[in-house]
């Protein structure tokens, strides 16, 4: 039986990472291993969702969003990488398009997204997916591409990333096995929602939590007042358009 990669890291690294607290699957492997010693019961099988370990890329990082907590956290890590890179470029290259107050808030959002990205990077350690860069043409999809000479295009892109982030975290939430990671996702998703509300209001005032489309922004909420969560399988096809390394990535997520 192969060990989960997380068991292979150095002890010090493991102790510092929340992902190295006992997770069900890790314990599952331990108990299974123990059973082989104790004997008596055949517990050799892993569940159907245990895919064979993919061939590691050169850097040793992952290229698949696996159907477990690691996969969900890597999914979040991918989205945070996109957001952090996006706002970094906005502040660095398009500052002149914004008022000082707007730029101040965009800079704060950039910092939040960098913090989220670095958090996942550290938490996942060697289990993280590859570093990704942003394809601002959205793989040639003109309805999603971002023009960094246009304030409207940048705000549209930012609003899209934030609302998508909220939908992604919420949609994945019920599939997170660990209560600790569910809480961490909750701590982040409400900040993404705060960002989304601001960006919506910059585009169309009072659209922060609207149940109908306002101006150029779509409805934020369902008719009964809920955020519109979506499964990874619904989010990823669009998100991957923004990921330059899309051809290397695959997903087993729900």
């Amino acid at each position: 039986m192969s060990k989960l990669p997380i068991l292979e890291g150095p002890e010090t690294e493991r102790a510092s990472s929340p992902l190295n607290k006992a997770v069900d699957r890790r314990s599952f492997l331990r108990y299974t291993g123990a059973t082989a010693v104790v004997g008596g019961l055949l517990l050799a099988g892993c569940g159907d969702d245990d895919d064979p370990k993919p061939t590691p890329p050169a850097a040793g990082l992952k290229t698949k969003f696996t159907k477990d907590d690691f996969g969900i956290l890597n999914y979040a890590y991918a989205l945070e990488q996109l957001e952090a890179a996006f706002y970094t470029k906005v502040v660095a290259e398009a500052a002149s398009l914004f008022t000082a107050a707007e730029l101040g808030l965009l800079s704060q959002i950039r910092d939040h997204e960098i913090i989220h990205r670095e958090f996942f990077k550290r938490a996942l350690g060697d289990n993280r997916i590859i570093d990704i860069t942003v394809d601002y043409t959205a793989n040639g999809d003109a309805s999603l591409a971002v023009d960094f000479t246009s304030k409207a295009s940048i705000l549209k892109g930012a609003r899209f990333f934030e609302d998508t982030g909220v939908q992604a975290y919420n949609g994945a939430g019920p599939y997170i096995q660990s209560a600790d990671y569910l809480l961490l996702a909750g701590k982040i998703v409400s900040v993404e929602a705060r960002h989304a509300a601001l960006l919506r209001d910059l585009i169309a005032p009072n659209s922060f939590a609207s149940k109908t489309a306002m101006g150029t922004v779509p409805a934020a909420l369902t008719a009964d007042g809920r955020d519109m969560s979506a499964l990874p399988s619904a989010i990823l096809p669009t998100a991957l358009k923004f990921i330059t390394q899309r051809a290397q990535l695959s997903s087993d997520l729900w």
Binding site: L43, H195, A197, L198, A209, G225
Partner: protein
């Protein structure tokens, strides 16, 4: 045939299966408990007792889930009543610019929707008794002074975000209900973001996120952004340690305020209810 595939098949049909039996891990603890070997011959009996444990007494809504829903319902009813009193109540002398504010009326409509969603999930028979409110009990000018109103409203929404976050894990046994709660939780955060800016006259002097314990805000912010009980599980909004990771960001030039803003913190039920009741309930 092996047991794990059976368990996973059940879990595919019923996503809550592993939660019903505590966790996947507990199966193996169970099997190995007391050093007893579970033989293949005994496996059917083991499986049977496990399934009985998992599915015993599951008529209707899980008791814990019901309690969380009732808690959320009380908070949403309170929020709805607060905005209704502010925007159209007889004691409110807030200016027309506030009473007719499109965003505030949107928030009221959303709270009404949330009350309806939660009531539907709880069922009529289990709806909690109505609370009686006195919104001016502590902040006597909340409906006569615009600044006070927005400060209180902001604190109420931020507390709502903390309250949902504080109990989300208790809903893991019921994924469908958890999803509803998550989708309401983030709406509260959207409201809180708007109120932060609306409070500052939409000048963008207000941001949308919670900076530390918001000590500069005053009013209800003085308490509602602090740690709950136990503080290790419900940290203050100035917390910069996440998932056991601290000191991660030193030296990258990002100010500490951003770390406090980047993660919202949960708050426990007792702290929330005590604060809300002391300030607004009679």
């Amino acid at each position: 045939m092996n047991l794990l595939n059976i368990f996973d098949s059940i879990a595919k049909a019923d996503e809550t299966f592993y939660d019903r039996i505590d966790s996947r891990r507990s199966i193996f603890k169970h099997m190995l408990s007391g050093g007893k070997k579970v033989s293949m011959a005994a496996a059917p009996f083991f499986l049977s007792s496990l399934l009985n444990k998992a599915y015993a007494g599951t008529s209707g809504v899980n008791e814990t889930v019901l309690q969380v829903l009732q808690y959320a319902y009380r908070l949403e009813k309170f929020e709805e009543a607060f905005y209704r009193a502010a925007l159209s109540g007889p004691t409110s002398t807030l200016p027309a610019s506030v009473k007719n504010d499109v965003g505030l009326n949107e928030i009221l409509a959303n709270e009404t929707s949330h009350v309806g969603l939660l009531a539907g999930a709880i069922g009529t028979a289990n709806l909690p008794a109505a609370d009686n409110y006195n919104f001016s009990k502590v902040y006597t000018d909340v409906f006569t002074n615009e600044t006070t109103f927005f400060t209180v409203a902001m604190a109420i929404e931020d507390t709502g975000v903390r309250a949902y976050k504080g109990r989300a894990a208790e809903l893991k046994v019921d994924p469908a209900t958890l999803l509803i709660a998550l989708n309401i939780h983030s709406v509260e955060a959207r409201h809180a973001s708007f109120l932060r800016r609306r409070r500052m006259g939409m000048t963008l002097a207000g941001s949308g996120w919670i900076t530390g314990e918001e000590t500069s805000v005053g009013g209800p912010g003085a308490g509602l952004y602090k740690a709950g009980n136990p503080a290790a599980s419900f940290p203050s909004e100035n917390n910069t340690t996440q998932g056991g990771i601290s000191g991660l960001y030193a030296g990258n030039g990002i100010p500490v305020e951003r770390y406090t803003e980047a993660f919202d913190e949960p708050l426990d039920k007792d702290t929330v209810l005590t604060a809300v009741a002391a300030t607004f309930f009679v």
